[in-house]
C-alpha cells in the first residue's frame, strides 16, 4: 500500500498526523510519502523569491519546508522507521517546482519526502496522480468547505486527523450502508482495528425507523466478516439522521470510518454527502474509504 501524509508545519497537529500514520502504516507495511505543501508566493514575485532562495542555498539556508520535512523524518526515526537512512540535502531533486528527496528503500517499505508549493487541493491532487496513493492522511483543514473539496475531488481514501489525542484508547465507529465503498470500509476497519487493538462499533443508520433490505444485508455482511476475522465488535441498527447519529455515537474517542459516497457528483458538489458532512462536523478522526 502507498500512503501520502500531508503536513504543513512542526506543530502538534502535524505530530498527530504522523503518529496516526505511523500506527496505521505499521499494520500495512506501507510505503509512505510525506508531503509538505507550502503557500505559493504571488506569481509576480515568484522569480524574485527563487533568486533569493538560490542565494540562501549558498549559505546553507534552505526552504523552511525542508526543515518541516526534516523534523517529520526525525519523528519517523524516533518511531523506528527509516533506521538505516539519513536526511540529506544533497539528495534533493527538483522538477517543475516539486522538490523530492531521494531516499534508499528500507527492507519492507520506501519513505519519500516531497516539498510542494501552491493550493492544497491542487497540489495533493497532482501528487496523488503521480503516486497512485491508497490513502491520504492529513490534519483537519482550516474550513469545512476545504474538507468538502478534499473529500470530493481527491480520488482515494482520505483520513482527516481531527482532535486526535495520543493518550486516548481509540475505538472504531464503522458506518455501514448500501454504498459501493462500504465493503472496502469494512475490510479497512478490520485492519485498523487489529493495529490499534480497538473494538469496532458497527453502526447502520436509516433515516426512517424501517431498515431497508440492502442496509440490513450490508450490516449482516459486516457482522459475519468481523466474526470471521475475530475482531471485537458491537452492532447497532439505528433510526435518525445518519450524520448526527455517527457523530453522537463517536464522541471524541472513536475513529469514524465510512465508505465514500458514489452518488451524483453534481449533487455532492452543492449539497455534500453523508461521509462529507460527517467529516466536516465530527470531533474525532474520520476516514473516508474510496
Amino acid at each position: 500500500m502507498k500512503f501520502l501524509i500531508a503536513i504543513k508545519d512542526k506543530n502538534n497537529e502535524s505530530k498527530d498526523v504522523l503518529d496516526i500514520a505511523c500506527r496505521i502504516a505499521e499494520g500495512f507495511s506501507a510505503d509512505f510519502t510525506i508531503c509538505y505543501v507550502g503557500k505559493k508566493s504571488q506569481a509576480i514575485l515568484e522569480t524574485d523569491l527563487a533568486l533569493t532562495r538560490q542565494s540562501l542555498a549558498d549559505w546553507n539556508i534552505y526552504h523552511p519546508g525542508l526543515e518541516v520535512l526534516e523534523w517529520a523524518f526525525c519523528y519517523l526515526k524516533e518511531r523506528g522507521f527509516a533506521k538505516n537512512i539519513d536526511f540529506s540535502i544533497e539528495n534533493l531533486i527538483e522538477h517543475n517546482g516539486r522538490v523530492r528527496m531521494a531516499l534508499p528503500k528500507e527492507k519492507n517499505y520506501q519513505i519519500n519526502l516531497v516539498l510542494r508549493e501552491g493550493e492544497l487541493l491542487s497540489e495533493l491532487n497532482q501528487e496523488l496522480k503521480r503516486g497512485n496513493f491508497d490513502i491520504i492522511i492529513l490534519g483537519s483543514p482550516n474550513s469545512s468547505r476545504m474538507t468538502h473539496k478534499l473529500a470530493q475531488f481527491l480520488d482515494t481514501s482520505i483520513l482527516f486527523v481531527k482532535n486526535y489525542n495520543i493518550n486516548y484508547k481509540y475505538k472504531i465507529l464503522l458506518g455501514v450502508d448500501d454504498s459501493k465503498a462500504t465493503k472496502r470500509a469494512i475490510i479497512f476497519s478490520t485492519k485498523i482495528s487489529k493495529q490499534f487493538l480497538a473494538e469496532i462499533k458497527n453502526v447502520t443508520v436509516s433515516k426512517t425507523t424501517y431498515i431497508g433490505k440492502d442496509y440490513r444485508n450490508a450490516h449482516n455482511w459486516a457482522t459475519k466478516y468481523f466474526k470471521r476475522m475475530k475482531v471485537p465488535f458491537t452492532s447497532k441498527l439505528l433510526g435518525g439522521d445518519p450524520v448526527d447519529e455517527f457523530i453522537q455515537e463517536a464522541g471524541n474517542d472513536h475513529i469514524i470510518i465510512l465508505g465514500k459516497s458514489k452518488g451524483n457528483e453534481l449533487i455532492k458538489f452543492f449539497r455534500g454527502s453523508k461521509p462529507i458532512q460527517t467529516a466536516q462536523k465530527a470531533n474525532c478522526p474520520v476516514l473516508l474509504v474510496n
Binding site: 506569481a43 509576480i44 522569480t47 523569491l49 533569493t52 540562501l56 549558498d58 523552511p64 457528483e265
Partner: protein
Amino acid sequence: MIIKNKNEIVNDILFWMEQKRWLIIISILGIIMFYLPCPENISIIGYRTIILVLLVVLLIITEPIPLPALALLIAILQVTFNIATPTEVARTFMNDSVFFIMGSLMMAVAIVQQGLDNRLALGLIRITGNSVKNIVLGFTLLSALLSSFIGEHTVVALMLPVGLSIIRNCNQQHSIKNLTALILFSIGYGATVGSIGTPSGGARNALMLEYWKTISNGNISISYLQWMILAYPMVIIGMLGTALLLPITFKPEIKQLDTSIRKLKIQVAHKGSIKGSDLMTIIIFVFIFLCWIFLHERYGLGIIAISGAFLYMVFGLIEWKDLNKHTNWGVILLFAAAISLGVQMKNTGAAFWIGNIIISNFSNLINENTILPYIVNILLTTFFSNIMSSSATVAVLGPITLNMGGDVLYMGMTTAIASAFGYFSVVAAPACMIIYSSGLIKISDFIRAGWRMGIMSISTLLLIYKFYWPLVINLINY
C-alpha cells in the same frame, strides 16, 4: 486508454471549475458589463477600456491564470474590444521603459549571482560591531541605500542570507522571536523604503516615467537625477524612521550578538577574499549608474540598462542560461501589456473619466484644500499596493491618478512613492514576500510593524509634497 464514466467526467469538470472559479466569475462579470449600457460622458471604447482594466485588476488579485497569459489577454482584448488596432497594440507593447525594466532585472540577476553578499556582510559587521541596535541600523541603511539603485528584490536576495545567518548563529536557549522579526524587517522594510529613491529602484518607477510621457504627450520627462532629487529625501527620512520604529515594535531579547557575529566572521572568511569578478560587477554597475545620470537623454534609460546586462554577459560574469532562468520574463511581458493598456486608457479618455469620478466626490473640498487629491491618491495607492503588489498598483492606477486633478508631476511622484507603502501585507512588495518566505515571521507581524511605518511614511510624503517639492521644482527644471 482508460474510459471514464459519466460521474468521473462530471467530477473532473467540477474540479476544473473549482480551480478556475475566479476566472469564471470574472468572465461572467466582464460579459455582463460589456452588454450593459455605456455610462454618460464616456465613449464606447473608453467604457470597454474600463471593463478591461477592471478585469485585469481582478485577475491580478485572484491569479486564476498565469501572468504571461494575462499579458496576452490584454493584447487580445484590446483588439477584440476595438480599443486599438493590432499594429497600435504591438507598438505600445514595446518602449524604452520596458527595456529599462528588462535590463534592470537582468542586471539584478547578474549581481546576485556574483555572491557579493559576503562582501556586504563583512562590510556591515565591521561598521556596526556586535550591538543589536547598530546592526539593525546598519541593515536598514544598507538595504535602503542599495535598493534605491539595484532594486529591492536584489538587495533582499543579498542581505537575507546575512540576516538569517546572524539569527541562526544566535544562542537559541531563549526565544528570540522579536530579534528575528527586527532583523528581517530591517532588511525588508529598509529595501522597500529605499526602492523609491531612483528609477532603477523598482519596475513601478519606470512605469511612472512612461505614464508621464504618455499622459502629458511628452511634456513631462524626468531624468534619473531629477527623480533622485525629488524622491531621495523621502528615502533618507524613511530609512531613519524605520531604524527608529522597528526596535520600538520588536524589542530585542538580547542587546549584544557577540557569538553570532564571531561565527558570521568565520563563515565569511571561509568564502575567501574579494575576487576580480566581484570588483568587475561593481565597476560595471557604477558605470551604468553614471550613464543613467549623464547619458540618459541621448541613449534612454532602457538602452543603458540593457547595455549593463550586455556587459555582464560579455565579461563572462553571467551565462545566458542563468539570466534566462532567473529573469521573470512573464513580469516583463505583463508590464509591457500594462503600459499598452495605460496608453489606451489615456487615448480613449477612460483614465480621465475614472479620475474625474473619484475626485468629483470631493470637488467642494478640493477648492478649499488643494492637498486633498494627493491625500486621496496616497490612500488609494497604499490600499491597492497592499492587496495587489506595488508594481501592479502603479501599472493599473498610474493613468488614473495622473488624471485626478493636481499637478501631474506631483501626482505621479506621490503614486510611485506611495506604492512602496505596502507595509501591511505580505503580497505588497517583493521584499516583504521574501522575508515572509523565511517562515520566521507571521502575517500579524506585518500589521504590528506596518501601522507605525504607514503613518510615518504617509505624513512624511505629505510634508515633502507641501514643503520640499515646491522648493526644488524650479531647481530641477523638468
